[in-house]
Amino acid sequence: MLASIEIMLIGCLVATAAAIPGCFLILRGMAMMSDAISHSVLLGIVIMFFIVKTLHSPLLIIAAAITGLITVALTERLIASKQMKKDAAIGLIFPLFFAIAIILISQFAGNIHLDQDAVILGEIAFAPFNRWIIGNIDLGPMGLWIMGSITLLNIGFITLFFKELKLSTFDSQLAKSLGLSPLLLHYGLMSCVSITCVGAFDIVGTILIVALIITPPASAYLLTSNLNKMIWISVFIGCSCAILGTLLAIGIDGSISGSMCSIAGIIFILVFLFAPNHGIIKKFYNQKRQKLQFSAILLTVQFLNHQAPNQNPFEYSMMNLIDHMQWSSSFAEKVISHALEKNYIQYSSPHYRLTDYGIEVAKNAMASS
């Protein structure tokens, strides 16, 4: 039981560390850069592993973070060369780095801990067994400490440069003219992403960290347009993914990191459907509502225009309406009931007639068009 709580804790830390830079990546339109970084840090890890022969050295993290930055720099160099578009440049560099890493692992790593499956899936299930012990004191799982420091690092970077990051994200030209170095901020952010990917590498794997970097902030973005709130919400969603994912994995006896991603996906779909402002159900409803409102105003204009001199002014039968407006009868009924509700028209058997308010609405509509 204790182990699963430790797993949840580590998961929460990974999710927090990932969600914070993730928010900025999404807003800057660089979400796929995290995919590229998370793949290519593997090369740094593998190369450094062959040099220091252990997976638990801080040098690994440094080497991997540098590889991540090299990927970013190379990708940007390719984009700047104007030989190809941004997405193609991203898609060229990281597969190469990843391929080299996989070949190195398959050729030289033999039967050690660094195998291909661990790279993909991560080994969060084993994280509680790898403990940090000084003397006789058990300080808890190593992963907890590593991820804890990375989370603190990310929080530190974002709090320190929050204003600058915010400005350069939303108005990079203004930021530049105010003397902020966009390059420095950019690479600072990219370092955060790289380090997070490395730290998470042996916990949730190279690809699944992308889910935690992109999906919770994307969900949060649909829920709020305030950057502060967005970061908090995405951290909250990320932690929920970690906790619910662990529970799901225990329940169905499957990969923990895979379950976390699945939960992240489920949360995203729920938000995508039901978000109060940007959810598609709400949008669909708004669209329907707007169409009805527009049609009701159209109806008042139609009424006003069709007052024949001999006819009782402003009168119209249902049949006439369907005929002239070319609406289906069910839609016409909806529009009429909406117009009645809004007090644009009233029913005086057997015809509908405009109210005074309706006349005003129609005249306004014609004046404004």
Partner: protein, 365 residues
């Protein structure tokens, strides 16, 4: 290292060449339509489809697995388009979400499949990194049929595909059913990605969808030659990758193919007529000729105030007119007979040089 051309290797080689053809074709469309990373997302999204198809049928028959992958690939594609169209999220965010979440679900299902006793040998994890040796005769049949249909549709809709890639709005105004054509093209793209998964793997398949066209694009401007070259690059790297990985133990074919195709990209980027090296050389030549022209015209402007237009001037005076020219450049101009040296620092225009300078000034003004 020795290569033994036995039956499995020949099957793998034939399969890899057909995959090379289909990805070479699709690569051109993906890159020119600026949908390079879509291939990455679709490839990742296919994984849960393969797993679910296996979980339902418990059969490893290629037809079933490929249908599962196709279904999941399409679902991923549909979701990406829906997210982009219906929400404020940008394209790359949508790609990232679908890619990582589908892949996560896939890995979750893989761990569940590994626990099914009969499924231990299912070898679904070959789909992660790709293993050309796992191509069997039944797989080959499907690969060949699908590749031939990709070729068939490409030739059939050659004009339409080209039209929507280069100017989709114009195509629409010409009365083409753009949506239907896009749908066919997207279908071909998904199919090409799915048949490559077994050889190249889910993770690296995107390289085979991006790299061939990027490399080929460096050499030609016209679409047809680009596509032919892209197919050649991609088939060559698939064959070389399979050969190398079959001759070295534990060398997965996917990454090996990716290294070869990346090599082609590197060579093309550096050495092609529009490549980095030749553009640097052109830049150097242009810079030099501009500098030489500015020396001539500046010397002429200085000398114009004198009666004798060949009147020499201290070269350091040019400092105020845009910098002192290098000795090398002066020597070159002297060799061309455009300027002469009176003393160590005194240079003047020859008669030829004056003519040239007037030409330059007339051209500029």
């Amino acid at each position: 290292m020795t290569i033994i051309f036995d039956y499995p290797l020949i099957i793998a080689l034939i399969g890899a060449s057909f995959i090379g053809v289909s990805s070479g074709i699709i690569s051109c469309y993906a890159v020119l339509k600026e949908q390079s990373l879509l291939g990455d997302a679709i490839a990742h999204a296919a994984l849960p489809g393969i797993c679910i198809a296996f979980l339902i049928t418990l059969s490893k028959s290629p037809g079933i697995l490929i249908s599962g992958a196709l279904a999941a690939g399409f679902l991923g594609m549909l979701l990406i388009t829906t997210i982009i169209r219906k929400s404020i999220l940008k394209e790359d965010t949508a790609l990232g979400i679908i890619l990582s979440v589908f892949f996560g679900i896939g890995t979750l299902l893989l761990t569940i499949i590994q626990k099914i006793p009969t499924a231990r040998q299912a070898g679904l994890d070959t789909y992660l990194f790709g293993n050309a040796a796992s191509i069997l005769y039944e797989d080959l049949k499907i690969i060949v049929i699908l590749t031939i249909s990709i070729c068939f549709f490409t030739i059939l809709f050659w004009k339409e595909f080209k039209a929507i890639i280069f100017d989709s709005d114009h195509t629409q105004t010409q009365g083409f059913p753009v949506f239907k054509i896009e749908l066919i093209l997207t279908t071909l793209m998904v199919v090409a990605i799915i048949i490559g998964l077994q050889t190249v793997g889910v993770i690296l398949m995107s390289a085979l969808i991006i790299a061939p066209a990027i490399a080929a694009k460096q050499w030609f401007k016209r679409f047809a030659p680009v596509m032919v070259l892209s197919i050649i690059f991609s088939v060559t790297s698939c064959i070389l990758g399979v050969l190398l990985s079959s001759s070295i133990n534990h060398l997965p074919s996917g990454p090996t193919i990716v290294i070869f195709i990346s090599g082609f990209v590197l060579i093309s980027l550096l050495f092609s007529p529009r490549g980095i090296i030749s553009s640097k050389i052109n830049e150097y030549i242009n810079n030099n000729s501009i500098r030489a022209e500015s020396i001539l015209s500046n010397l002429y402007l200085l000398a114009k105030t004198h009666k004798d237009h060949t009147h020499p001037h201290d070269i350091n005076t040019l400092n105020v007119l845009g910098g002192i020219p290098t000795q090398k450049l002066l020597v070159k101009l002297k060799k061309d007979g455009l300027i002469y040296q009176k003393e160590s620092n005194l240079w003047g225009l020859t008669n030829n040089g004056i003519e040239k300078a007037i030409q330059i000034l007339q051209r500029v003004h």
